[in-house]
Structure formats: structure tokens, C-alpha cells
Symmetry: C2
Amino acid sequence: MEMLSCNLNRESQIPLYEQLYTFIKDEIMEGRIPFGTKLPSKRKLSEFLKISQNTVEKAYEQLVAEGYVDGKARKGYFVLAYEDMEYVQVENRMPLPPKEEEPAALFNFHPSQIDTESFPFATWRKYAKNIIDQENQELLLMGDKQGEYTLREEIANYLYQARGVHCTPDEIIIGAGIEILLQQLILLFGNEASYGVEDPGYHVISHILRNYPNEVYPLEVDDRGVKVESLRGKAIDIVYVTPSHHFPYGSVLSANRRIKLLNWANGDTERYIIEDDYDSEFRYSGKSIPSLQSMDQTGKVIYLGTFSKSLIPSIRISYMVLPKGLMQRYQKELSFFQCSVSRIDQHILASFMKKGDFEKHLNRMRKIYRRKMEKTIELLKPYQAEVNVIGDVSGFHVVLEIDNNLTEEELMQKAKDANVRIYPLSNYQMEKSYSTRPRIILGFAGISEAKIEEAITLLMESLLR
Amino acid sequence: MEMLSCNLNRESQIPLYEQLYTFIKDEIMEGRIPFGTKLPSKRKLSEFLKISQNTVEKAYEQLVAEGYVDGKARKGYFVLAYEDMEYVQVENRMPLPPKEEEPAALFNFHPSQIDTESFPFATWRKYAKNIIDQENQELLLMGDKQGEYTLREEIANYLYQARGVHCTPDEIIIGAGIEILLQQLILLFGNEASYGVEDPGYHVISHILRNYPNEVYPLEVDDRGVKVESLRGKAIDIVYVTPSHHFPYGSVLSANRRIKLLNWANGDTERYIIEDDYDSEFRYSGKSIPSLQSMDQTGKVIYLGTFSKSLIPSIRISYMVLPKGLMQRYQKELSFFQCSVSRIDQHILASFMKKGDFEKHLNRMRKIYRRKMEKTIELLKPYQAEVNVIGDVSGFHVVLEIDNNLTEEELMQKAKDANVRIYPLSNYQMEKSYSTRPRIILGFAGISEAKIEEAITLLMESLLR
């Protein structure tokens, strides 16, 4: 090729080399400069276009970098082969259809809501300010894969004191949410392991499990927790339970069943129990229920905890305590996973715990949630002919069993019409057949104390009258 | 049972009810109070032990709550059955063996290191202070599952301007690291999809994939990027590539191969390309290489990006851009996944981007890293008889091919003896057979400019002399 006629715009903000590069690239892409063509020499083209040789070189080098042209020392620049352009089709970038946005509700009784009015912003900000500091440069780099040691120390202390959990910081892995940790466990146990999960239960667990090749069996639940006998005759390896406070029924797994469950796990080397202790900090009568992990003498219980309830959901900090054997397997097989939580956030939380602010916060919140629970129960009393309240000694929600001859769908519609958001138990069920009367989950934690009467009265009047 | 003799310690810090509860629980667990036993009435026991009836009631209620005892109205409290205690074995909580801690090295050339001296701590702290505020209470609750809209807007703007990526905020999903997002993609594509990954390549990707049931094939790489012809004859559905800057070789996927790859993807409705654009911000010669996504007209490219290189690794914020069809599938099938990044952090980053600080930071860092790269190349020149430098126009590392008749192991040992940490290419290879001479990856980004001469001279003298 002797020469290239290219109209360069010297007034444009686009650099000349880039105009030349784009021009040549388009010519190649549209087939006007065929494969194998030798481009004009830099000197000749620069003279022809009245631009510097450097500018031509920059354009050519970019074409070489992107693979349109091959640059051979002293031999010049040659256009490379490219495949036919059939892939270039009609512009197909239609916007996504808008997501169905639910209109803002007057009151939202979602069980994941918390009280946001009492979060100690000033204290948290103080620790954040201390941690985000030039002195802490090393915190910008990747840290320990299991999470920061200082935070794991605080968690180990807290778990021992509050939950009777025996562990050292070395046995803890921190992750950005229970979902993330569960996925790591699924990989650890392998594709062949089959799971038993409480039904009803925390639905995200079964949703995740069912996206893996593993078998998942529902386990029936009553007012003493999961029915351990429902494990019989099923080839289950791993059981996922909430022994201290079943989600959503609020039942406590009885001592008898705990022992049965531990005995079951001891029946095979590859059996394990995952104990999700999601909101055990909030029990309003008697002392807290001991963790299952604290009864485990043989390394069969994996303890899962989270700061979603005890602190804030959006911080995304959870953790798991692995028995020794599993931790060694984890370190051998899954050590490529980096910790998924920001190191800065981990250090802020560690300071918050070390200085006693976490304990203070928990004690304060326990009182607030207890008052909200008591008020909720009190406000529901007038409706007791039609409403049975389940699970009223701990946590952030109760379950209402409603007996007024309406179906679940009809009740949901009535709440919707009153602009109140409630959640049916069936959302949390794998097998819909268990349920008798319609049940709804009433998360009261996010409703302010001043509004709780208005909220519950509005809801109950709309459901029952 | 008529009465229970229990020694209560009135001086103890442990409440009386808790002492009584623990005593009865231990008696039951050790079989000294058999199944079916009726406990003494509250009145009688309180008189006998000279404690209040309330204290006895509290102890009994805790036993009921934990399932050791059944409380029947007016009938009294009965010990429940429990299984034999065989599971209780010898205390088995030996500490984990200590992890092998590598001693601190004089210099660490890991490719994930970044320059930590130039991070704008004061600016970041300012935004953190503004976000952690009582006014932002709603940020404590769970947010949008795809990530905060405001951050997705900033990412979409940035991607369009810097990388030619076409997307709206609705097409972006934010996650706590590439690993987390990749796992979601694996679930989205299902257990049957098989993968092709660059070899050598970012080893974490193949490690994760090989823990899933999916098939994984290595794809050979040369100085024009991945060899697309190595896809032929393999039942591959999903290809994972780093087109702008191959990790670790630094090659750019040529225009010709890009078109071939897009054509390959168009050959079947279930074929997709995952483009990992991990460090494309840092190209030191010519303009940046356009993303593969920007050439994709048919919704076949998933674009993955991260703030690990452009900001800091420990913040754990990454994102993916899904083509329309896949996003609809994601919203339908995986909508139970909450966003894994703290909402507060997302808003801090959004402010940092919106106010122009991110662009400023990138421009500043690009200059710093370019100087470090130039210095590295310069310092390696005296060794060019034995050392071939690969991938020297962009990114945070170069690859050194070393030809002094030493094996990889011998070279690693020499570096170790000099207390310098380097990483062999074989760590990043699935099939070890490709390599010819030993290659090492030299990440220079974490070495301060003042020390780079000392570090490289020390390393090269120890490897070659």
C-alpha cells in the first residue's frame, strides 16, 4: 500500500494519533485494507499527512498492541488476518425491562428489619476515623484469609462468654454473610454430601443448596425444634439447624433432641451439624440457651454466627467456627479463598468489641427489643380468639396463626390493601403440605416504639375485620 | 421425687436460680434423676432451700425452655427422656497445630501488592465520616441485592468513559470480590456447563471451578493472548479470559482472536465469554485497550471488574456486567443472594467516584506505577543475557524468563536464602508441561520507589550470581 488518505481534524480534542489509529482500524475491520497489506512507512505517511513521525508511530503501535497489525523490525507493518464479520449483528442493547418496584409501605414487618434509631453512629464513626489512617497502610493489602486475627480474638472471647462456645481464634473464619460461608462449606463437603434442612426454615439456605448438585431433604419442625427422627431412613450427611431459636417458629431444640442429633452425627465420620445461631443474643426470659456447639465433644458441630441481628444487617460480617478436622481440610483445600470482608471494617468492629461498646450496645438493644416484643404481645391480646401467637420469648419476630376462615392469599391481599407489608410462612417452606391454618411472620424489630400500636392495630383490623 | 438437696452458694456471683438450674440439669444428664421423675413443687423446694418461689420458678422455666423438663399446668414438672450418653467422649479440643508462618521477607514481589504510600486516607476518611451519620439510618438495613444504585451509576459512567463498556446501572451486580461473583455465575450457568480457562492464568479461577462439578479445560496462551483454536474439539460452554492484559503474561488478545472468540460464542445460545478486566486502568504506552465487551453486539460477554488494583485489594469490591438475557435469568433464579458488600462502604466509594477523587487517584497512581515499571525494566537490563522480560507495557508485574541452567526450585531457594519473596509461574499453571525455561512473576507495585533498586539488585544477584 503506497499511501493512506485520511482526513485528520486538527481542531478536534481527539489526539491526531488516535484519529489515525481509528481510521486505519475501521478500514481494516470493514475489509477495505485486506489481509497481508503492508502499511505505508512511518516516514512516508508522516510526510503525506503532514504530521510528525512520532504520531504515526504511536498510531501504528496501538494497532500492533491490539493485534490489527504485525510490526516487524525493519520490514514494516502488515495487516493481520481477521475472520469474517458475521458476528456483528444489529445493535441489540435494549434496556432491561424495569423491575417491579413495590410501593413504599406504611409499615414493613419483614423479619430481617432491625431498630435503626439506636445505632451508636458517633462511636462507630470515631473508630472508623482511627482506623482509616496513614499509619495503617498495611491494612490496604490483602490480610489473613480467615479474617483479621484481632477480630477473631474478640469473636472467640465473646462466643465463650455469651454462648459457651469453645474456640480459639484459629478455628474461626470470617465472611461477608452466612450465604458466602455456607457456599464454602458446600465446597468443603463436596458434591456427594446430602443435606437436611429445617422446614420451615431460613429459606435462603435451601435456595442456595438447591442450586448445587447436592441432595436436600426437608426436616419437619415442631415446638421442640427439628424432629430428629425425620433423619431416619434418609441418606443425610449434613444437617442445618437453628437450635437456640428456630427460624421462624422460635422453638428451642430440646435437650433430648440435641443429644439425639449429636448421637446421629457420631454415627458416621462424614456427618456434621451446622448450627446457625443467628439471633441468640436476644432472649427475653431466663438465661440464654446454650449453643449446641458447647455440648459437642467430638468435633461434629460447625457454629455459624452473624452481626446482622446483633449489630446491623448491611455490614455483612458473619463467621463460622470449624472443628479441628474440618479446619485442617479447609486450609488444605480451600485456602485460595481470600477473606470477603473489608479489612478496615473488620478492624472497626474489633475496636468496637474490644472497648466494650458491643456489649453495651447488646444490652441496650435487648431492652428495646424486649419492650417491642411485650408491646406486640399485649397489642395482639384482643385478637386472641382468632390469632394464636407462636414464639414469643426471643428474637425479632413472632409467628401468627390466623383462624378466621381466610386463606393465606386473602390475608396477604388485605394487608396489601392496608399498605402494610407482611410475609407468609409459606415463603419459608419447602413442602407446603405441613401447614394447617395460614401463618404469617411478624417482624416487629424495625417498627419504632412510638408507632408499634398504630402498626399492629392497623394490621390486625385489616386482617380480621 | 420429694426433695432435692442442692448446695447453693449465696456469696457467688452466679445467680441462685442459675445454680439451681445447673445442678438439676447435671443431675438429669448424669442419670441421677431418671426419666419421668416429677420434680418437687416450687413451693416445697423453695421452703426447703430457703429461697424464693420465684427463684425456683426461674430455674424450672429454664429447664423447660431447654427441654430437660416438661412443665404441665397444675400437674407439675417432669423430667423428659433423653438418649444414652455414649456421645459424650473424652474432651477432644486440642488446639490446632500452628500454621506455618513464613518469616517476614525483606522484599515481597507478589503480584497482588499495590503501592500503599499514596492512598488518599484523608479524603476517604472525610467521605466515611459523612456517610456514618444518624441521617443515614436506612443504610443499616439490607439494600438493593445488586448493590447500591448510586455506586452502580458511578461504575456505569466510569466503564463507559474508561473502557468503552456499554451498560446501565441495572445491568451491574456488585460483590465482595471476583471469587464471590464467579461462584454466582457458576450457579447461574448450572452444573452441566463446562469451562475453558487461560493456562497459565489467574489460578484462583481454576481452583474455584475445580471445586464445582463442572468440567474445566485449560486453554493455551501465547503473546497474542489465548489461542482460540484450542477451543476446537472441546465441549466448552464458558470461556474465562483476560483480553486487555493477560494474567500473568501481559499479552493483549489480538483483534483477530477477539473476533474469533465472539464468533465462537455466537455458535451456540448457551456459550458465553467472561472477560476479567482486572487491571486495565494501568497501561503505560498508547491508549488503553478497548474491552471485549465493547465489541460484543449479541450479549455474549460478561464483564468483570474490580477495585482491588485501581483502589485497594482489602476493600473487597468487585462488580460484573451481565448481558440482558443473563440478568433476567439471574433475577429470576438467584435473587435470594443479598449484596455481599457493606452498604456504608458502597456509599463511601460512590462519593469518592462522584466527586472526581477516583479519577484523580487513578491518574496519580498510573504515573507512579509507570515510573516503577520503567525503573524495573532499567534495573533488569544488565541481566539481559540471562533474563528475558515479558509483559512490560502495563500492569503491576512482569514475567521473567531465566536462562542460567537452574531449575525453578533452585531459583526459588536462592531467592528464599536472600530473604526475597518471588512467585513461580508454575503456581499459575494447570498443565505444567507448557513451560520451557523457569519463569517467575515479579510484582513490583508494592516496592517503594526509593527501595526498588536495592530490591531488584538483591534479587537478581541472588538468582544469577
